[in-house]
């Protein structure tokens, strides 16, 4: 694996700048360059869950498939890998807000323009929020879980969460409201659908094909030579393209 100590050093720079792995150094007389040194992201492989529990996976599979339903334009959020993406993001540094400022005191009545002021990390928000959704569904739908609801009822409930018309039990401002939970899941679902497939979502670049985004080609001088002409080349990801690996595009 190319995960050299310097990669760890870089990713750890801000947060644990004082751990022994993050070594200060002196550079003089040359550019400190070593061959074959680069810092690719770790490739997400589907299979197993790093953070989510089985009942949370079932709920999220159902949610992401309503946020991005399967139709002629694309597969569903679930089939695009959005739940896998969310699981791996929650298991990484973002899931515990490692890079954010998380020192107290946490204000009881922050202003909306002051941004995130909750002490809860995404891991805690998902765990608490999905449990509250589960309790709500059990009470409101005769013991059913979210994924057991009809698609129409799922949409109605999601709409109510988005608009703050339903209050899931135990969710309160400023830590986590029902709308905050909805917005977090929506944001992460869209990230998964449109991020590079290396992170576990956007399987087969379905999100990019939806809008004809060509991905990581990095050289579009051909487009600038023909402004306004529809672009027809298929997308490329950090991992390349399926047909480069002997699979159909």
């Amino acid at each position: 694996m190319p995960l050299t100590t310097r990669r760890h050093l870089l990713s750890a720079t801000a947060l644990v700048a004082f751990s022994s792995s993050a070594l200060a150094r002196s550079v003089s007389g040359r550019l400190p360059w070593s061959p074959n040194e680069a810092y690719p992201p770790e490739i997400v492989r589907p299979g197993g869950w790093l953070f989510l529990r089985p009942e949370e996976v079932a709920t999220l599979d159902a949610i992401v498939s309503r946020l991005i339903p399967a139709d002629d334009l694309s597969p569903s959020g679930k089939d695009a890998g959005c739940t896998v993406f969310i699981d791996r993001q929650l298991a990484g540094p973002w899931g515990s807000y490692d890079w954010y400022y998380m020192q107290g005191p946490f204000a009881e009545k922050p202003l909306p323009q002051q941004g995130i002021q909750s002490p809860l990390t995404p891991q805690q928000q998902y765990r608490k929020g999905l449990a509250a959704l589960s309790t709500h569904c059990r009470d409101a739908f005769g013991g059913k879980t979210f994924d057991q609801l009809a698609a129409e009822d799922q949409d109605k409930l999601l709409t109510a969460m988005e608009k703050g018309e339903v209050q899931l039990p135990g969710l309160t401002a400023p830590q986590l409201t029902t709308t905050m939970l909805f917005n977090l899941i929506l944001q992460n679902t869209m990230e998964g659908f449109f991020a590079d497939p290396i992170y576990g979502g956007n399987k087969d670049m379905v999100g990019w094909k939806l809008i004809n985004f060509p991905g990581t080609r990095y050289d579009f001088r051909d487009v600038l030579a023909n402004p306004g002409k529809p672009y027809t080349k298929p997308p490329v990801s950090i991992l390349g393209r399926p047909d480069w690996n002997g699979k159909p595009a």
Partner: protein, 589 residues
């Protein structure tokens, strides 16, 4: 604490200004050390072409930016609010590591107008003193455009800026910006190629009587060798520019333009992952003796030096002065002190045009500075009589990217999810073009920087507190220019135009711009600012300050061109005046 051998020069921060200062002073034979709190970064390893185009990692999770866990600010809109920490950077994104924000900028490289440098007296002379709003603390710069012109020119040559001159030695040039200050020379490289939207904008703006011209770009159009002998390559319009490092050596940055030459000099040393905690002074506070820093293992070091250059990002320069007790903290109530005074930002807004499906903008084929501009409503290029505001904004039509996590527009009123959202997304992507404005931000008595009374960084030092809001003068200016953008978008043939005026209160959440200015402004007298016209501290003559913190107020332009020009202006004074008589004030207070 361990005391290190004395150096001629210690530089705090190794971004644009730090690397330029280091290179020029090392070439002049001085023994120079730069202390940088982030990691070493270089193109081949950190912005490798195989991994650089990663929207999630860089633009969304903010991998290369300063992390708030290391340092952040608290924010409030007014004196009666309680400031709270910016827990996730949003409105602006400070850089981190070698290269600083010069790594991830868009590359818009402007010169301010000559009248920006004598802003207050210019407006009063033309319109009378009543045009200056109440509690607006704008002031003239202590340096003129004519004095800075050669330094603008050299910075543009170091960067290889692509553009078309509009005024060479007073002669207006076709195709350039007729409103710009005189230039001694053409741009180093020709303009970038326009995409469809730039061509449509140029036609529409011309029909409306405006004067379109290509955006002066730090993403360069052709192969180029700069005055330091460093070679750059042509931009490939990859669409991963702002918030990313450039893998092509095409975007002007310390890495692409300065470091390869700087690092050859054996009398220069960079120390990375070392954070300066204090500028040390003599007991009487009249001379700097060096800096104290902590390394990544938490060990504390003292680095003595003859000359201290403060070259971190604007707000961090201001904070380090505060933490070092150098200068007098500004107090908006008593209206005393200068440090933290005249903080300003930028007033950006615009219109969005939605076009037919047969209009293919191909937004993914873009560059940070690929754009057409019009300056007809910037600065004082238009008559302000009766308008009720000072200042202006540039008008821009740029194609920077089509990265889909953040940039997939849908018509107003479209649901945010579900089948209807998906269809609208597929139908709209690639057929939308914004016409934006980048507006000036004036200085006001109750907009300022100081140290927060409650929140601390990981070393236990107070965070900086930012008290800022958009004021009516700037909002009125912005509305006026945004109305012009809507006219252009309609003239370009948009089926629908959304007009998005700037509104308060200022929020830390959505990205607006990393153009934080002021707080350690340069001034004609010690009563009006922190440093003199040569960027030398009024109280401590062997301390010089760089960056946009020097601006008395912000213009309708990105700051980097002016930051670069000020750096070479200061270097000229350091090399040719200060070093001949070290330790002396260059301007008598």
């Amino acid at each position: 604490m361990s005391r290190l051998p004395k150096k001629d020069v210690v530089i705090v921060g190794l971004g644009w200004t730090g690397s330029i200062m280091a290179h020029e002073l090392a070439m002049a034979g001085l023994d120079v050390v730069a202390i940088e709190r982030g990691p070493w970064r270089d193109t081949a390893t950190d912005y490798n072409i195989g991994t650089a185009p990663d929207e999630l990692r860089y633009a969304v999770r903010q991998d290369i930016f300063l992390r708030p866990a290391q340092d952040t600010q608290t924010a409030r809109n007014s004196l009666d609010q309680v400031a709270l920490p910016i827990r996730k950077y949003g409105s602006y994104l400070p850089g981190n590591g070698v290269g600083g924000a010069g790594v991830h900028w868009n590359g818009h490289t402007w010169r301010f107008f000559p009248s920006d440098f004598n802003l207050r007296s210019h407006y009063i002379e033309r319109y009378g003193k009543d045009i200056i709003p109440e509690n607006c603390t704008v002031q003239d710069w202590p340096v003129s455009y004519d004095e800075l012109e050669p330094h603008y020119d050299f910075f543009e040559k170091v960067c290889g800026i692509s553009g078309k001159a509009g005024n060479i030695k007073g002669v207006i040039q076709p195709g350039g910006n007729p409103f710009e200050g005189w230039r001694s020379d053409e741009y180093p490289t020709k303009p970038l190629k326009p995409n469809l939207s730039q061509t449509m904008f140029a036609k529409a703006a011309t029909e409306l009587g405006m004067h379109p011209f290509p955006l002066p770009s730090g993403n360069i159009s052709e192969a180029y060798t700069n005055p330091y002998g460093v070679r750059m390559a042509p931009c490939t319009y990859c669409g991963f520019c702002e918030w990313f490092g450039c893998a092509n050596y095409s975007k002007a940055s310390p890495q692409a333009c300065v470091l390869p030459a700087l690092m050859r000099q054996s009398n220069f040393e960079a120390r990375t992952l070392c954070e300066v905690t204090k500028i040390n002074t003599t007991p009487d506070g009249k001379m700097a003796t060096g800096v104290t820093y902590v390394d990544a293992d938490g060990r504390e070091w003292e680095q003595p030096a003859e000359l201290v250059l403060l070259c971190a990002y604007a707000i961090f320069n201001v904070r380090l002065l505060m933490l070092s007790n150098i200068g007098t903290q500004y107090d908006p109530v008593s209206n005393t002190g200068t440090l933290g005074r005249n903080y300003a930002y930028q007033t950006n807004a615009g219109s969005v045009g939605y076009f037919s499906k047969d209009v293919n903008f191909n937004p993914f084929a873009g560059a940070g500075s690929l754009g057409m501009m019009a300056d007809d409503f910037n600065g004082d290029n238009f008559d302000h009589t009766g308008l009720g505001f000072i200042g202006g904004a540039n008008i821009n039509c740029t194609t920077t990217n089509g990265r889909p996590i953040s940039n997939r527009p849908v018509p107003p009123g479209t649901p945010r999810w579900g089948a209807e959202w998906k269809k609208a997304t597929a139908d709209t992507y690639g057929h939308v073009q914004s016409v934006g404005t980048q507006g000036s931000s004036m200085a006001y008595r109750d907009v300022y920087l100081d140290l927060d009374p409650t929140y601390k960084d990981r070393l236990g030092r107070p965070l900086m507190r930012m008290t800022f809001d958009f004021k009516e003068n700037d909002l009125k200016m912005s509305r006026y220019v945004v109305d012009q953008t809507a006219k252009i978008a309609r003239a370009m043939g948009a089926n629908h135009v959304s007009v998005n005026y700037k509104k308060g209160p200022w929020s830390v959440v959505p990205y607006q711009t990393t153009h934080n200015t002021g707080g350690a402004v340069m001034s004609s007298t010690p009563q009006d600012g922190v440093v003199n016209r040569y960027t030398q501290h009024w109280d401590v003559p062997n301390l010089f300050v760089s960056g946009a913190c020097l601006f008395p107020q912000n213009a309708g332009y990105n700051p980097t061109g002016t930051v670069g020009a000020l750096t070479y202006w200061a270097l000229d004074a350091i090399k040719n005046k200060y070093l001949k008589n070290p330790g002396q004030a260059l301007v008598q207070a």
